[in-house]
Symmetry: C2
Subunit: 153 residues, 2 copies
């Protein structure tokens, strides 16, 4: 079972405290509880595992996002942009007004600030990526409407 949001928030807080220690910190796989992507921001089954948080040293936080086939984010923008590193499977990204673009492991996607877009798995394949998202004025993302089945297919 995945942890509820309060536990996830506690894990993020602990990660943040660890990041401020003055010795090397190894955060083992399994120590950062995965979170089910909310139906308010994703379609289908999406799992988010926190990796690291923004800090006084770097303005970007990172997480692993895993999409099952057919799952995708809602349309959204990032105030300071976002970098994706695809780690598994095959997915799609699409900018508003553009075509869907297939992404595969090792591909790196840069979405500039304010560009409306979505990302997710293809209809037939799962897809995982690491997302590295700079925080601007306390915000990393502005969520918009769902990607309809017509837009997705």
């Amino acid at each position: 079972m995945m942890n509820s949001l309060p536990l996830a928030a506690a894990a993020l807080l602990l990660a943040s405290v660890a990041a401020q220690a003055q010795t090397m910190q190894v955060s083992p796989n399994g120590a950062r509880a995965s979170i089910a992507g909310s139906a308010e921001t994703f379609t289908g089954t999406v799992t988010v595992t926190p990796l690291f948080t923004a800090s006084e040293h770097s303005n970007a936080g990172g997480g692993l996002v895993e999409f099952t086939p057919g799952a995708r984010s809602h349309w959204h923008t990032h105030p300071a942009g976002q970098t994706l590193i695809v780690t598994a499977g095959t997915g799609w990204v699409q900018e508003v007004g553009g075509e869907k673009v297939a992404i595969r492991p090792g591909d790196v996607v840069w979405t500039p600030p304010g560009v409306k877009h979505w990302h997710g798995a293809t209809a037939e394949s799962s897809m995982s990526h690491i997302a590295i998202t700079p925080v601007h004025d306390g915000s990393a993302v502005t969520w918009l409407e769902p990607v309809t089945d017509e837009q997705y297919r």
Copy 2:
């Protein structure tokens, strides 16, 4: 064959230009030439593949670093720290004065600014990690002396 450093520098420049475009940019796996880790900063066979560069939006750049068994970085420090996300194999990290710590896929390592340390594969296993390194005053790393075989074993 890996490309020489001038070509790698050109690839980084192109990646930087792409990062400033106002549309989504997919940099496919294979488009960013891998670089052999220099004997001045690594022991053994190490391959570095650039992923993204620091920009006006985020102060950290990222790369994939692959170590063959026995390969490791020299001792070094990072002026603004570094985050490692282990992606394959089994490796070791060590802070000066501390013990070697084993790292495995999904583990996340934070090294604070100025902490002298090294990272690499174990003697028997390869190890790969993504390194995310904030740039401070134009510098991401200060290289020091090699890790001797006695220190490594």
